[in-house]
């Protein structure tokens, strides 16, 4: 699959009076046509900044200081990036943000805001755009779209506004939808509605999705592939089924273990002790080494790079000990057989 989006060794710094924060430190990933990638991380891991960097939306004092973002081969960082971004933003790449309460303008009706978007990107008469707005609201599952389109944001609930924002993002049939914590501000039953809607639209419209979230559960039902971020770096990038069944990076393992589940009762949660490092002074070695149970000397001195685990191109891990740990935690069938045989002999 040829990727439509390539993020290539991206680095973003925020220069503040209290020092330079290295928010995104050498992040690379790709998204193929129609693919869904979940970017998971805790607050401060750099996931939202990465998303903002895609469309040149990083605000001062933040700045892209290295690497590149390419959309179908065209750079969105170098060589006249502003014009390129202007051409594709909203048309080919669209965004949905976390807070449906502040992303809409309170003084204009839903319809007029949607018409503005439609007419900005497509030469359409006002009337045609209005009709299309009604269709879009219908598509995202809003009942009585013809009445709703005349309403103002304050007349709608959070879930309804998020639907409106998704409708606006999809107005120009983009090829990539970037959704930054789209359900974080919503209640669980409404979250389930929005996630179902996203999964359904993704299938119907064959749009690629970059879903940014802190919630491993949210990603599980929606994404083909998951990248886990920690302290400004991707530590693991794998197919969703692999990541959840056999997480390879100690941080991914810790994150899954410390997440309580509704379907399983645990005796005690396994917390990850400590806190993420200060990104003004990132550690010399692996950023997770200070909290890692398996950290060796090398981990504290050198930075591990994201590389294929056991030669599998679809399983990338940034950990010196990943292969060793994986072999111990998930032994292959013949290793198990050998061990059993040895035990029987003994």
């Amino acid at each position: 699959m040829t990727p439509v989006l390539e993020v290539d060794h991206l680095q973003v710094d925020f220069v503040t009076r209290r020092g330079t924060v290295h928010a995104v430190r050498d992040v690379s990933f790709t998204i193929g046509k129609g693919e869904t990638l979940g970017l998971v991380g805790e607050s401060g891991s750099g996931k939202s900044v990465t998303a903002q960097a895609l469309l040149g939306m990083i605000e001062l004092p933040g700045r892209i200081v290295g690497g590149d973002v390419r959309w179908k081969g065209a750079s969105l960082v170098h060589d006249n990036a502003a014009a390129t971004i202007e051409r594709i933003r909203g048309r080919e790449i669209a965004m949905v943000f976390q807070d449906p309460m502040t992303s809409l303008d309170p003084v204009f009706s839903i319809g007029s805001q949607m018409v503005e978007v439609l007419r900005r990107h497509r030469k359409q008469s006002r009337k045609a755009a209005w009709a299309r707005a009604v269709d879009l609201l219908d598509m995202v599952g809003i009942a009585n779209p013809a009445q709703r389109v005349k309403q103002y944001p304050f007349e709608m609930s959070g879930g309804m506004r998020q639907r409106v924002l998704i409708a606006m993002a999809l107005a120009c049939e983009p090829e990539l939808l970037v959704a930054d914590e789209p359900t974080t501000a919503l209640d669980v039953t409404i979250q389930a509605q929005i996630l179902d809607l996203l999964a359904d639209l993704q299938q119907r419209l064959d749009v690629a999705v970059l879903l940014i979230t802190h919630d491993l559960g949210v990603v599980a039902g929606v994404c083909d592939r998951v990248a886990v971020m920690y302290a400004g770096k991707i530590v693991e990038d794998a197919a969703a089924a692999d990541l959840y069944a056999t997480p390879a990076h100690p941080y991914s393992i810790g994150l899954l273990r410390s997440t309580p589940r509704v379907d399983v009762v645990l005796d005690r949660l396994v917390a990850i002790e400590g806190a993420p490092p200060d990104l003004r002074r990132p550690p010399a070695g692996c950023a997770y080494a200070a909290r890692c149970d398996h950290a060796a000397d090398r981990c504290r001195k050198e930075q591990p790079v994201l590389e294929a685990l056991n030669g599998r191109d679809d399983r990338l891990v940034a950990c010196f000990r990943a292969a060793e740990l994986a072999a111990a935690a998930y032994p292959t069938a013949d290793v198990v057989e050998d061990a059993v045989a040895a035990e029987v002999e003994a």
Partner: protein, 339 residues
């Protein structure tokens, strides 16, 4: 039960001693006026006829979506709000009928842990002052500095180093601030703590640390918790029993495992099936009930069962008559005509 006999793992074992009994509490707030000369006040019935008990050493999880009234219940139990009807007993004493010095004395034994560790600690006070404040206010210490020893012990109990005491809240991360908030709540050795979304603002890895801390404290000190949350995974983990609130009314209350394994109320079922499970094959294969519509407006709740507008099992009777909250099986309460 001796300390050593308590299990190290799992939820701490509660006793049958009742710490809190809430009996039919209702809370309403006036909103705007209508009618001729605006004489008629409109009321929002935020909480309507809610009853539950919390035992010594027990965690009762109180679950509901935003606007369901869960925070209002928590505040009313602590008498930070007055109920318009109903009664709250704290260890046999009527909290609703107590005032003045008597109420002050009661309040020492009931504390609150807040959701937002960034907003709930005064940035101008040192951690020593913050944690000692309840001691000083209630006359247990002359000044913050004279309580230093006790404060340091509390901080250490909550997993914070000794030098924490002389620093200010800004120097700490969210998880550490929440530990400070818990130390402050523990200062007066309460029997009962209302924890209002204590881990919702924290990151996953830190959330587990705080949940473990709360459980350890309960095991050690026998504190009863009313644990208010919207995250059902955390609630299942920490609670002995769970109460589910919908639009100001309790719809179900039972042992935690019973609620999750054999829920009776259709809202509980839908709520549980909405929680995403971090396991892709399982999550994709799950039979999920995705509710249509939203929580009804509390100003104008629907007649009959408040869930009738979204209920997949709705019958005629649900549209006209409010279902009673009754014991359907031993210890398993629910309000539903159909089940």
């Amino acid at each position: 039960m001796t300390e050593t006999a308590a299990p190290i793992l799992g939820r701490p074992i509660p006793t049958q001693e009742r710490v809190i009994e809430a009996d039919g509490i209702s809370v309403r707030f006036p909103v705007g006026r209508s009618g001729f000369w605006g004489r008629q006040v409109k009321w929002v019935h935020a909480v309507d006829d809610v009853s539950f008990t919390v035992h010594h050493g027990e965690t009762l999880g109180l679950v509901g979506e935003s606007g369901s009234g869960k925070t209002t219940v928590g505040r009313t139990v602590l008498r930070r709000l007055d109920p318009s009807a109903g009664r709250i007993m704290f260890r046999g004493q009527d909290v609703t009928a107590t005032n003045g010095e008597e109420l002050r004395r009661l309040r020492r034994r009931m504390q609150l842990v807040f959701q937002d560790p960034y907003a709930s600690l005064n940035p101008r006070m040192s951690v020593l002052q913050l944690v000692a404040e309840p001691l000083v206010v209630h006359g247990k210490a002359k000044s913050a500095s004279s309580a230093r020893e006790e404060v340091v012990a509390l901080l250490e109990r909550c997993g914070l180093p000794e030098d924490t005491a002389d620093r200010h809240p800004h120097a700490f991360s969210g998880g550490q601030r929440q530990r400070i908030g818990i130390a402050r709540a523990l200062a007066l050795r309460p029997d009962f703590i209302v924890a209002d979304e204590p881990v919702s603002a924290l990151d996953v890895s830190v959330r587990a640390q705080i949940v473990n801390l709360l459980q350890d404290l309960q095991r050690e000190l026998g504190i009863a918790y009313l644990f208010i949350a919207h995250d059902l995974s955390v609630v299942r983990h920490i609670s002995h029993r769970i109460a589910i609130l919908y639009a100001g009314k309790l719809v179900e209350l039972a042992d935690s495992d019973v609620v999750y394994d054999t829920p009776l109320h259709p809202y509980t079922e839908a709520l549980l099936s909405s929680v995403p499970i971090p396991d892709p094959p399982l999550q994709r294969a799950r039979q999920r009930i995705v509710l249509q519509g939203e929580i009804p407006n509390p100003l104008d709740p629907p007649p009959g069962c408040r869930f009738q507008t979204r209920c997949p099992l709705v019958q005629d009777v649900c549209r006209h008559q409010t279902p009673p909250f009754e014991e359907k099986a031993p210890g398993h309460w629910a309000a539903c005509w159909v089940r």
